[in-house]
């Protein structure tokens, strides 16, 4: 949707995105210097953002959309660091693929890098210490991250293009119908795949998940021993 955001909104979303990126870069430095084993984990979670967001998948609405892949990173490193990796992917797509565009990059960083992951991360934080299974927590967090990314995209477009009749709410519903409904099956599929990836991480390298306190030690060790 390059070029589709009026100047004032493009600037506004850049102003929201920049402080988030600043926090992300600061946190990234801190995490990586505190624990060298965090870098490979970042490689896997970030790698899946690259892979999944490159896929254009069809959906039940008869149109296509991208998964985001940001859920695992949101769980492992929180929304601010995820925003930094998301921004790198979005910059790649804006520069080379005419996907997103440079002026709207701020808005896209906010929806895919910040807002979606923030909601998924919130769900994960709530469920982390409860008796809800670790894998279901990951599933839910990843699906919500994906879905909310597109709900926020709809919100951004509705704010920029309120309908003449009915204003912002009616526009919001129209854009939700285009973006969010299409996204539901993709969000579920993405979340199932990321759960599988998460399980491989637990089996191969439970130590880093424990040290970064991503889940309580008992939960991780209970699954890590399964072989």
């Amino acid at each position: 949707m390059e070029g589709f955001l009026p100047l004032q909104w493009a600037v506004f979303w850049w102003l929201v995105a920049l402080p988030c990126l600043a926090v992300g870069v600061y946190q990234l430095n801190r995490v990586l210097s505190a624990d060298r084993e965090a870098l490979p984990l970042l490689g896997v979670t970030g790698g899946f953002i690259f892979i999944l967001s490159s896929l254009k998948l069809p959906s039940v609405t008869g149109s296509s959309s991208h998964p985001t892949g940001t859920g695992l990173s949101a769980i492992a490193f929180g929304p601010w660091i995820t925003a930094v990796i998301g921004a790198i992917v979005l910059l790649f797509q804006a520069l080379f693929l005419a996907h997103g565009g440079l002026s709207t990059l701020g808005a896209n960083i906010v929806s895919m890098g910040v807002a979606g992951p923030l909601v998924g991360w919130g769900a994960y934080r709530v469920l982390r210490e409860t008796r809800v299974s670790m894998f279901f927590t990951v599933f839910l967090a990843c699906a919500l991250t994906d879905l909310f990314t597109y709900i926020v995209t709809s919100l951004q477009l509705a704010l920029a293009f309120p309908a003449e009749v009915g204003g912002f709410p009616s526009s919001f519903i129209v854009f939700l119908g285009i973006f969010a409904i299409t996204q539901v099956p993709l969000a579920i599929l993405e979340a199932v795949i990321l759960v599988l990836v998460f399980r491989y991480i637990v089996q191969l390298r439970p130590g880093i998940l424990i040290r970064l306190k991503i889940f309580p030690e008992e939960k991780i060790l209970a699954v890590a021993g399964e072989g």
């Binding site: 589709f4 490979p40 008869g62 149109s63 996907h99 477009l157 299409t182 599929l189």
Partner: protein, 104 residues
């Protein structure tokens, strides 16, 4: 066996169900939601779609083939990262097993 591979099975089932959704959808074009969203934005604002211009000049890949190549490149970059790390972790695990050392 079934329990050990439950997530693999779940992933395969999810992919199959997802694919099966489209068996009976003939005539759908599966255009990008961004194309559709753009059309709606143009409709709501009353400005024709072709008059929307990126605020910052935009390089556009010459043709769909080049575009899909670049998307594949993006996926490949991610795939290399993921494969490298899983290989590294697997190697570490083997080494720890040999030396009977600490669990990472």
């Amino acid at each position: 066996m079934l329990r050990k591979y439950r997530f693999e099975i779940l992933a395969i089932v999810a992919i199959l169900v997802f694919s099966a959704l489209f068996l009976r959808m003939e005539g759908a074009e599966f255009a990008g939601t961004d194309t559709e969203g753009s059309a709606r934005a143009a409709e709501i604002s009353g400005i024709p779609g072709e008059e929307f211009r990126p605020l910052i000049a935009q390089w556009v890949p010459p043709g769909g083939e080049v575009e899909s190549a670049l998307f594949a490149l993006q996926a490949a970059i991610g795939g290399i990262c993921v494969g490298w790390v899983f290989g590294y972790w697997k190697g570490l695990k083997e080494k720890e097993r040999e030396t009977g050392g600490r669990k990472g």
